[in-house]
Each structure stands twice: as structure tokens, then as C-alpha cells.
């Protein structure tokens, strides 16, 4: 209960701070929608010229219209801040407080999501209106509920991965290159650029099993596709693995933390 109260206060503080950066965030959202819009243009162009992808045009269009918002919601930008706080010693001030730095990280992510969502939804709506003939959403009901659960787990996975990468700063000076590699892999393997169903059949079993799928593609599959119950169990498995790894790496890292200048 106390935790929820602290989180609420931290989220309100973060939203207030984020509102100062509203134009900065608006431009960031513009960049978020450009990549799916380009994919949408080229794929629809290819279909118009006779191409036959392994998914329907409706699925492809709905996927690419929604992917920017579904990729934004479970995303996380904690690793850089966390690595900096470890390297520069800012973490010390959180270690002496009766509140975890990760609760602050969660609040920061929720805060930026609230503002980003307000800015991104109109852009997605414009894209949806342009391609309205091929966009199809399910009616409100159980599917949306499962989608929300899947999205929450995706968010927890991404945040946990961020903690693992940020924790590397306990042992390495700079983790930006690791972060860059992670974003590169996630860009392709999460399905944030194109649906994983478009990949060649030979790699589909691997793509279906790897964790990045459950960070973007799977929630969307829940909403507009027909994923199996087994896939949902796999997401729960990856969720537990990621959270567990984050807890272990953080605890191990803290043992070697010296604080700047200490």
C-alpha cells in the first residue's frame, strides 16, 4: 500500500517533469511513426503491384498502423540513466532512501508513457484514417483484456532487460555500445519493423520462440491475430526469466558498487 502511494507520487512528479519536455517528446513520437509508415508504403506498393505476402493485406496494414503505439507502450529507457547513476555515483542517494531506484525507474517510464501516448495517438489515428479501408480492430472484450495483460508482461520484460544492461555498468565503464546492439536486435526480432510472419518459413520456429517477439509482436498478435495458448505460456516463461535475471544481476552488481569517489 505504501509502495503504491510512493509510486503514485513519483508518477505525478514525472508527468509534471515530462510536460516540460512536451515538444521534445512530440518530435520523438514523430520519429517513432516514420519507420512503420515507410514499411506500410512499400508493402502496400508491393501488394498493389502483384506481390503476395504470407499474411492478408488487412492484417499487414492494421499491424503496421498500430505497431508504433504498441512498441512504445512496453518500451523502456532506463538502462542509460541507471548506468549513468552507477558510474557517476548518483545511485548512492537512492541506496540510502527507503525507496528503490527501480521504483523511480518504473515511475519515470509510466510518466513518459502517459505524455507520449497523448502525443502519439493522434499521429496513429491519422495513419489509421489514411488506410481506414484496410484497418480492422476486434470489438471490445476478452481479446483486449488479454492484450493488456500481454502488454504489461512485455513492459516488465523490457524494463528487466534494461536493468540487466544498466547493471553492466557495475563492471564496465560504458554500456552504450551494448545498448546499441540490443536495440538493433530488438528492432528486427521484436517485429517492430515488419510482422514476424513475413519472414521465411525456415526461421519462423526460431522467431516464435525468441524473447524479443514477446516485447512487441506477441501483444499485437493477441489483438489482431490468433496466437496459441502455448505461445502465451512461453511469454510467461520469458517474463519470469527476465525478471529473475534482473534481480540476480542487480544484487550481484550492488556487491561491487563503490560509489563515485568512495
Amino acid at each position: 500500500m505504501r509502495l503504491a502511494r510512493v509510486l503514485r507520487i513519483l508518477v505525478i512528479r514525472e508527468v509534471t517533469i515530462m510536460l516540460h519536455y512536451r515538444w521534445w517528446l512530440a518530435m520523438l513520437q514523430l520519429s517513432n511513426i516514420v519507420a512503420p509508415a515507410i514499411s506500410l508504403l512499400v508493402w502496400r506498393g508491393a501488394i498493389a503491384q502483384g506481390s503476395t505476402p504470407p499474411v492478408t493485406e488487412t492484417f499487414l496494414t492494421t499491424y503496421l498502423v498500430l505497431v508504433s503505439v504498441v512498441a512504445m507502450l512496453p518500451s523502456s529507457w532506463t538502462s542509460g540513466f541507471l548506468a549513468d547513476s552507477i558510474r557517476l555515483g548518483g545511485l548512492s542517494s537512492w541506496l540510502v532512501r527507503p525507496c528503490s531506484t527501480h521504483l523511480n525507474g518504473i515511475a519515470n517510464n509510466i510518466g513518459e508513457k502517459v505524455v507520449k501516448l497523448v502525443l502519439l495517438v493522434p499521429l496513429v489515428a491519422v495513419l489509421g484514417i489514411i488506410f481506414r479501408t484496410e484497418v480492422e480492430l476486434p470489438p471490445l472484450g476478452l481479446r483486449w483484456l488479454v492484450f493488456a495483460v500481454s502488454l504489461l508482461m512485455a513492459g516488465a520484460m523490457t524494463f528487466s532487460l534494461d536493468i540487466v544492461i544498466g547493471s553492466l555498468a557495475f563492471w564496465f565503464e560504458d554500456v552504450t555500445a551494448v545498448n546499441r546492439l540490443r536495440y538493433l536486435l530488438a528492432r528486427i526480432l521484436s517485429g517492430s519493423l515488419i510482422p514476424l510472419a513475413l519472414f521465411p518459413a525456415a526461421v519462423i520456429p526460431f522467431l516464435n520462440a525468441q524473447p524479443f517477439r514477446f516485447m512487441v509482436s506477441f501483444p499485437l498478435e493477441v489483438l489482431i491475430g490468433h496466437p496459441s495458448g502455448q505461445a502465451f505460456a512461453l511469454q510467461v516463461g520469458w517474463f519470469a526469466t527476465f525478471v529473475g535475471t534482473a534481480v540476480v544481476s542487480w544484487r550481484l552488481g550492488l556487491r561491487s558498487y563503490q560509489g563515485a569517489g568512495a
Binding site: 519536455y21 516514420v34 506498393g45 506481390s51 552504450t176 546499441r180 536486435l185
Partner: protein, 259 residues
């Protein structure tokens, strides 16, 4: 001119020394840069794989486009992007003072001062991909066509850099212009695809106002001997450079330093 060449050479030497100082970071950055090119190839190959018969762009020809794109953007990310990313900081924190007081052309210095040699790995890999693709697609290796393609790539490189520079100069007008770099990078991604896949109106935009299409798609077309004449591209580029110089002149007058 000779003075500027000497200055540029000193900056390059300093950049190499800096990269050698942080060797593991440089190595990971070089690997990530190449991985970016290879992973970026996947969506394009999937697209052309499902539509090769319909659109007449097969795998090898697509490889040429992605290869040229990788080489050109590698050069851009090595020599231009590190500077453009800093412009917002120069303006916001008042660091432009240190550039304005130097006895050099401030705009040129602000555009070419910083370099990231690790990105050059992508240039080599990209050129390798382009040559392999051209060989597999049985494209004729005629000197005239290769020179024409190289000139188109240079126009694309300069044209897109000019657009990007104009976008980051918004930092003189607005306080939160930093993410415009991300917008430019995402828009540049359109250059990875053959222009044929885009609607006609978008093709026109990508060949003129937002010249991402000139980075690789038009040069690849030039290799097949079907691209249009260079005159229009060169004229547009000269106009773009003139506008950018004017934009800097007007925008830098708004700069009030940090003090």
C-alpha cells in the same frame, strides 16, 4: 582551401587517436555499425523476395541498393552525423561560442569537426555487398556507369546531409529540436528500398525535397544505365547548399550565447 584540408586532416587524426584510446568501445561500435547494415538488409530482402516477379527487383539488385545505402550512410555517420547531432547542444549550452571565435568558417567547422571512424566498417561492408550484388545480377561493370552511379551517390550524400543540417538548425529557433536527428535518421531509412515500391508522389519527394532516394536507389538504377541525367540533381544540390548557407546566416543571428 589547403588550410581547410589540413584542418580536416588534423580532426581525422585526432578522431582515430580517440577511437584507439577506447578500443573495446570502438570495436563494439564497428560491429554494431556492420550489424546495422546486415540486419537492415533483412526487411528489404523479405520485401523483394515476396514480390520479385511482380516488381522486377530481384535479390541481387536489391543487394546493390542496400550495399550502396550502407556505404553512403556509413560515410555520413562517420563524417557528418556526429557533428549534426551536436548542433542542438552547441546552441542550448552556448558551446557555439568556442566555434564562432575560431578563425575558420563556423558553419563548415561545425559540420565537419567531429568524426567516428568506427562507422567506416559499414562503408567497406556496404561496398562489398554492392559489388557482390552487381556481379550476381550480371550488371555491366562499365567505367562510365560506375562513375555516374558514384556521382549520384555523392549527390545523395550531400543532398541528404544538407536536409539534415537544415533540420538541426531548427535548434536556433526552438528549444527542443534534438529529436529532429531521430526523425532525419528514420526518414533516411526510406533510401534502403528501391523507389519502385513507393507511390509515384512519394517517389518524387524522395528524389527531390527529401533526397533519401538519391542515396542508393537512383545510383543503383544508374548502374543499369536507366537513371536520368545528372544536371537536375546537381542544380537541386547547388540550390540546397545555397539555402543552407543562408539558413545558417539567418539562424546564427538568433544565437545569444549561454551568458
Amino acid at each position: 582551401m589547403k588550410r581547410y584540408a589540413r584542418l580536416w586532416w588534423s580532426c581525422l587524426r585526432q578522431a582515430i587517436r580517440r577511437d584507439l584510446q577506447f578500443r573495446s568501445q570502438t570495436l563494439i561500435n564497428a560491429v554494431a555499425s556492420i550489424a546495422e547494415l546486415v540486419l537492415g538488409l533483412i526487411p528489404v530482402l523479405i520485401l523483394t523476395g515476396t514480390s520479385a516477379a511482380a516488381v522486377a527487383w530481384n535479390g541481387p539488385r536489391t543487394l546493390v541498393v542496400v550495399g550502396i545505402y550502407g556505404a553512403c550512410t556509413g560515410l555520413m555517420d562517420c563524417f557528418v552525423a556526429p557533428n549534426l547531432r551536436r548542433i542542438d547542444g552547441y546552441v542550448r549550452k552556448g558551446e557555439l561560442d568556442l566555434i564562432l571565435i575560431r578563425p575558420v568558417n563556423a558553419q563548415l567547422f561545425a559540420t565537419l569537426r567531429w568524426m567516428e571512424p568506427a562507422e567506416l566498417g559499414r562503408v567497406v561492408t556496404g561496398l562489398g555487398l554492392a559489388v557482390a550484388g552487381a556481379h550476381a545480377a550480371h550488371l555491366p561493370f562499365e567505367a562510365g556507369l560506375v562513375i555516374r552511379a558514384a556521382i549520384w551517390t555523392a549527390i545523395g550524400f550531400a543532398g541528404f546531409s544538407v536536409l539534415w543540417a537544415n533540420l538541426v538548425y531548427l535548434a536556433f529557433w526552438f528549444e527542443s529540436a534534438e529529436p529532429i536527428n531521430e526523425v532525419a535518421l528514420q526518414v533516411r531509412e526510406a533510401g534502403r528500398y528501391p523507389l519502385t515500391y513507393f507511390p509515384r508522389s512519394v517517389q518524387f519527394v524522395l528524389a527531390t525535397v527529401v533526397p533519401a532516394g538519391l542515396i542508393a536507389a537512383v545510383p543503383a538504377k544508374a548502374l543499369t544505365g536507366t537513371a536520368t541525367t545528372l544536371t537536375t540533381g546537381l542544380l537541386l544540390l547547388i540550390a540546397g547548399i545555397a539555402l543552407t548557407i543562408l539558413h545558417w546566416e539567418v539562424a546564427s543571428r538568433r544565437y545569444s550565447s549561454a551568458s
